[in-house]
Symmetry: none
Subunit: 200 residues, 4 copies
DNA sequence: AATGAATGAGTATTCATTCAT
DNA sequence: GATGAATGAATACTCATTCAT
């Protein structure tokens, strides 16, 4: 019943953010079904009803966190690409932005992996991917026009880039423990592999 | 109590296979938690106890199916690569083998995607990946020695190939409906992208 | 802690009445359990705590509204019967008064029906009924003494009248929509049916 | 998931009936929301899941019991009326059948009262009433044709009968305790009141 | 080998009520 | 007087697993 665009007090907004933070951590670690609303509340020491003051359902909570995550990733990419002239350079910066983003925020990676698991949310993740692919494909087409990139199916190439970059990230930053040796030169190699794959 | 490598009658083995087939389909479509033992039994019109005659648990059933799938993929790859001399050619054939395999058996792709989603099974999938990566890395190293492949981190390159190929497959064969336009030239583009990424 | 026959400011009394009005509507439409305190407050755009400023509990609020309703009905009946000499005529006027009352205030009918459903309140409704039945039985006894009404169990007759009249009203005014064809001649028929049932 | 037209063993059918009996008692006494699935199971000493082996939901269970009750009432009425020639006599027998039915099965009365409380089920009860009203109205029309019953709105008269009879029953058999003095002559008075109300 | 039946732990959600501000 | 926030008990339903037959 609760939750409409409820006006929040300062205390309320703080609590809301606390919940988001706690839930992000748990969802990333334990998955969606693996995380109960009780877990989230317990980890904050609050009653089991609070979440429903701020969200309509568990799904709504998860959804919001996911969207925030996807938005943050997209922002990072855009910021880095914005001012760059050369399309190939833009692609490179996009790759580096993604790798840096997940290196800094392994939790976000966990969130996205979790989301992709569930049909309810896979759509959102996919939509996020579509956007990145479309952007990248545009850069590629520009590059083809300039003769910098070999002719071919731009969309397919973009998928190749996305797939390998995300796989790199998953393999090297993807463990809950933050373990697995982080390779500093990872970004360089990723760029090398991807760009060679499409350059003339 | 059931299941202890029991000797099966002919009828028994048939039933066992029926269950495997039915479960594969359901797991691939609806995921692990999304598929109940009841679903599997209902889809065969048998009582809810049977599964436990042949397997210890739902997890054991899933696990067996997953292993079979991974094994089948690996076999397909080896068959195609075996007789080939040139390391780069071997890599190419590996890529084509994978794409063909999943094009023919989209259900297997569903199984692997499903498995990768759950911590309980992600390990098995990862182990399968490791093997492929190791194989590919060996080919790459040979190629480097022959001067065909640029110097660099062979393992990283192998991950790049695996990531992009799997992503291609997911994107184009990955829908439950088997739908999405199948692009015949997909394999060619994948090979082009990956090999350029590593060639001298 | 709230509520202790507190002295209300003018604004306070107004607010109190607003709440009564809003709650009456909701209880009548959605039933007791079907109406949450939140619903009542939302429908007025006030905070969820206010109700507890004026009443001790949801039950107390409901109870007050119910009592007011029963009282209003009783008043209407008494006004109409008061000056009438002949006992049979009094009974007729009582019937007409009830029908008119609920025709004018379908919400009150909803309230009473709702109340009768819950053991917690059924007692109050029944007590209201008892009074009406007792009144009517008195008129009947007078009528018997005058030879206008056949001999028999006066109380039972009174119950017959009450039951049929209330059922008429429920059937013809009882829909939430106020719909159902209102039959103007309803009162006439009700009177005919009931009086014949008891006359000599 | 369970429950389709499942084939029941003898043991199964017995258990099913046990549950129906236990639930009827509880629903009649404590109402719908007042009775939890746990209550029903506890009262039989069975696990909380059983009910869901036989019914899809609490609502489905309640619904079945209600329908059975309404059917039983209707059967009783029909049996008693069937062979009777005279329409007025049929009406009388119908009245007596109803009173006897509820006198014998006060639990059924409780069930119907409970059902009428909830919008989800009120429709079914009302439908049951409609049928009785329609039947009675037919008898009344026949009686009018024969000149036995005064002219007037047959449906309205039928409602009058239904209302008063049901109110009699509620008043005198309606307490959980079976208390309230049962008046043996109740049926006679009811018949007298109703028939006079409609006879010429 | 197989079945129908039974179990019961586990979870999202609601809502009357209280409380700090 | 009034509000937003918080509480937590209560409950329907699912499903892997076991068991008697």
């Amino acid at each position: 019943m609760a939750v409409k665009q409820r006006r929040l007090t300062k205390r309320g907004s703080q609590r809301r953010e606390q919940i988001v933070d706690a839930a992000l951590k748990l969802f990333a670690d334990q998955g969606y079904h693996g995380t109960t609303i009780g877990d989230v509340c317990d980890s904050l020491g609050v009653g089991k009803g609070v979440v429903y003051w701020y969200w309509r359902s568990k799904e709504a909570l998860f959804s919001e966190i996911l969207q925030r995550t996807l938005l943050a990733l997209r922002r990072e990419q855009q910021t880095r690409v914005e001012a760059v002239e050369d399309p190939v350079e833009r692609i490179e910066q996009g790759i580096r932005a993604s790798i840096d983003f997940f290196r800094k925020n392994p939790g976000y990676l966990g969130m996205i992996r979790t989301a992709a698991r569930y049909d309810e949310f896979a759509g959102l993740v996919e939509k996020g991917q579509q956007i990145v692919v479309a952007d990248t494909a545009n850069h590629i087409k520009e590059g083809m026009a300039l003769g910098e990139i070999r002719d071919g199916d731009a969309e397919l190439m973009a998928h190749g880039i996305l797939g390998s970059v995300f796989h790199f990230v998953e393999t090297y930053f993807g463990t809950e423990d933050g373990a697995v040796e982080d390779r500093p030169q990872l970004a360089d190699e990723a760029v090398a592999f991807c760009l060679r794959g499409i350059l003339t």
